[in-house]
Amino acid sequence: MCCSAMHQLTGLLATNFGSPSGVTTQDHYTRELWRLSGYFSVPIGLIVLGLITFAIVRYRHRPGEDRKPAQFQYHIPIEATYTIIPLVIVAVIFGFMYNAENHVDKVSAKPAVAITVDGFQWGWRFVYPNGHVQIGTADYNNINNNNDLPVLVLPSNETVQLHVVSLDVVHTFYVKEFLFNRDLIPGINNTFDINVTKPGLYPGQCNNICGEYHAYMRFLVDVMTPTQYAAWYANQPACSITTAGVPGIQKGSCAAINAGADFTGYTQAPKG
């Protein structure tokens, strides 16, 4: 407990102002922007708090004191100053933000890998170009059980394009380490690129209320080196299904799986 608190304190004092590190190339822009916001907002916050504190200490009414309050109302130069300076700050932040946004939101015409991410109540389905499908099941009685989660396998250091599709209600694809959210909305096609620089296993989760078992709509991202990924991908037969890392039996035709038409075996009934 104490160490957790200490860790937070040192985290807050570091230049990242408490923001975690991401593992993608876009992370750089997000954190630059976060830092910039910190450079402006921390001093502004301290100045305003300082002025308020000074005013209530210096000008508080003391018992027995016979000081008359000043009765001024306007001071145009000061008022103009605290209108113009914030306008300039906001313009600067907007400029940096605009630049960062163009990098983060850039969608490549030729991604190395393109994967379709289907979200449904309450699970995920990751469909690879050859029709291979990764699915999983959630343990609705024990959220500490990570064994049967669907796994999104990605190569590192490559531009991966994710096409996110909702099969029922609004969901959100969210991986904390990617510092990124994108909604899955019926009727809207959303595509975004990520380039993960650090191989590893990252937890992901639906980030938009989607019904009863929203909290259990989790998945794992397994980022492999490009060589490992190529070997893994070569081992996945077209239109095969892997449930929580365990190869399963193909159900329905390849086309039906890709169209999301054959749902047998995908929807997840609560265990137990």
Partner: protein, 558 residues
């Protein structure tokens, strides 16, 4: 300047309510008065205390949520109950408490008094507004009595989760109708108050002599007229989808679920300012009175309120950055710009305190609590206004922490308003001792609850999850947050006890306990029917101060 100096001194004292003599016979009281009264003061009190009841109920739901989240993998309540809790918590807090408490509660009670009017322009219409509002509140609660339970899709109820196939049962319908009724109530109140402000001002009360509170309520009312009908329309379309075979939000039949988000947030963001602006007004009045000074930059303050109102209509899609379906730079620029008039207000508040003689009583402490918490909520707002950072933090606990700081900041000002104006409404002051204890508990409790949630969001905890995995690094912060919620609950009880006991046994307030500046302090406490028999001359925005302190008139120029 010369006019101010040469005007005849107004000798004013408390007047007895001789208007009572015009209408002879017994006056209604108790439940009959509550049901039938068209008096703006009675209706204002009805709103204030119904709003507080909503706050207590919604607060209990928050305690259920925090108890569920205190440890990982908890099974204190089921998923569906948890989903009901956050949905109705949010809905009650926004549609029953935070908004109406200020714009209809304080608004009804104070606007006619502050502009020297005998009542609202349409008193019976006013009564109807209250009953629609109470009806809405009841229907929102009635959801819990239905077989499928209350609505379970969050207070902004994104389609298509709200469609009949995903959310069957009458709970969702009661939610739709309940919000619809509070919406109509708000629209009617807006029509009423706008008419009152434009037509019933006392002689001398020109627009630029109205208290800032009245200005803020006026701008709020225009926002209501622009925003609430859109919400009502969105709800009507949802009803048609659910019951009459419509497909407005059904993508499978050519509808657009994103339409709901646009319509809802076109209401939803102005709603934030519909909630906040009246509290800004409350805080401004308290700060000026307790500093014994005029509002610094009065006209700049009004300009800031107007620009917040205008910008508020053009920022709705900053709730939708991650949909991939909105023009990011436009909404980012508009959202960032709101920081400028909000900043002006902060510096005006500081200017109002500057070189005053500040009385640090409970009302003022709550006001300072508002300044501190709202400042922090404003800063995190600037962070979230940037789409790239919102991509990271969208729908995480960082957002939950952000808007609770904003809203609780506002509500802090509201509690300050209770300590400030209840003496006018009841004739008795609240206990300062209990008040300061209540403030300390609330301030510590709120911060302990919501400050750790910023870090929870940065650590990736999504909002509205019923439970969480023990290995995510969220356990300690959730524990802290839940302990904060329990402290907050004790603080609420202390304040409720203070209001309850002071109502009958509090120190007699007198007409003008705080050396107030605006017209409500010119009549007795509580004010008689139809408010005023005589008014002090209105030659500035603080006529009562001018009459009481002819030696301390506002200094012109600088």
């Amino acid at each position: 300047m010369t006019i101010l100096e040469e005007r005849p001194q107004f000798a004013f004292e408390a007047h007895e309510a001789s208007l009572m003599e015009i209408v002879p016979g017994p006056r209604p009281h108790g439940i009959v008065k509550f049901v039938t009264s068209t008096d703006h003061k009675q209706i204002g009190l009805n709103y204030l205390f119904t709003g507080l009841a909503g706050f207590l109920v919604a607060g209990l739901m928050a305690l259920v949520m925090r108890t569920q989240l205190i440890v990982p993998n908890n099974h204190f309540v089921t998923e569906n109950v948890y989903n009901e809790m956050f949905t109705i918590h949010g809905t009650l807090m926004l549609f029953v408490f935070a908004g109406p408490f200020a714009f209809a509660g304080f608004g009804n009670y104070l606007v006619p008094l502050m502009i020297g009017a005998p009542d609202m322009a349409f008193p019976r219409f006013n009564n109807l507004s209250y009953w629609l509002y109470l009806g809405g509140f009841s229907l929102l609660l009635a959801g819990f009595l239905t077989n499928n339970g209350a609505a379970q899709f969050g207070w902004f109820g994104y389609a298509p989760l709200t469609e009949a196939i995903h959310s069957p049962g009458p709970g969702a319908d009661l939610w739709i109708v309940g919000i619809g009724l509070t919406g109509f109530s708000g629209i009617f109140t807006a029509v009423n108050i706008i008419t009152t402000v434009f037509t019933l001002r006392a002689p001398g009360m020109v627009m630029f002599r109205m208290p800032i509170f009245v200005w803020n309520i006026l701008v709020t009312m225009f926002l209501i007229l622009l925003a609430f009908p859109v919400l009502t329309a969105a709800m009507a379309l949802l009803w048609i989808d659910r019951h009459l075979g419509g497909n407005f939000y059904n993508a499978n039949k050519g509808g657009q679920p994103i339409l709901w988000q646009n319509l809802f947030w076109f209401f939803g963001h102005p709603e934030v300012y519909i909630i906040a602006l009246p509290y800004f007004g409350v805080a401004t009045e308290i700060l000026a009175t307790m500093s014994r000074k005029p509002v610094f930059g009065y006209k700049g303050m009004i300009a800031a309120t107007l620009s917040i109102g205008a910008l508020a209509m053009g920022v709705w899609a900053h709730h939708m950055y991650t949909t991939g379906a909105v023009l990011l730079p436009f909404f980012a620029a508009m959202s960032l710009l709101i920081a400028v008039p909000t900043g002006i207000k902060f510096f005006n508040w500081i200017g109002t305190m500057w070189r005053g003689t500040i009385v640090l009583n409970t009302a003022m402490l709550f006001c300072l609590g508002f300044l501190a918490m709202f400042l922090f909520g404003g800063i995190t707002g600037v962070i979230l206004a940037q789409p790239v950072l919102d991509f990271q933090l969208h729908n995480t606990y960082f957002v939950v922490a952000h808007f609770h700081y904003v809203l609780i900041g506002a509500v802090m000002a509201g509690f300050g308003g209770l300590y400030y104006w209840l003496p006018k409404m009841t004739g008795r002051k609240l206990s300062e001792k209990w008040g300061k204890l209540g403030f300390a508990l609330l301030f510590i409790g709120f911060n302990l609850t919501f400050f750790p949630q910023h870090d929870l969001g940065l650590r990736g905890m999504p909002r509205r999850i019923e439970t969480y995995n023990a290995g995510m690094g969220w356990n300690f912060l959730n524990e802290l947050s839940s302990i904060g919620a329990y402290i907050t609950a004790i603080g609420v009880l202390v304040n409720a006890w203070n209001i309850f006991t002071s109502w009958r046994h509090g120190e007699i307030a007198g007409d003008n306990p705080w050396d107030g500046q605006t017209l409500e302090w010119a009549c007795s406490s509580p004010p008689p029917d139809h408010n005023f028999e005589a008014l002090p001359p209105i030659r500035s925005e603080r006529p009562v101060w001018d009459a009481n302190h002819p030696d301390m008139l506002t200094k012109v120029g600088h």
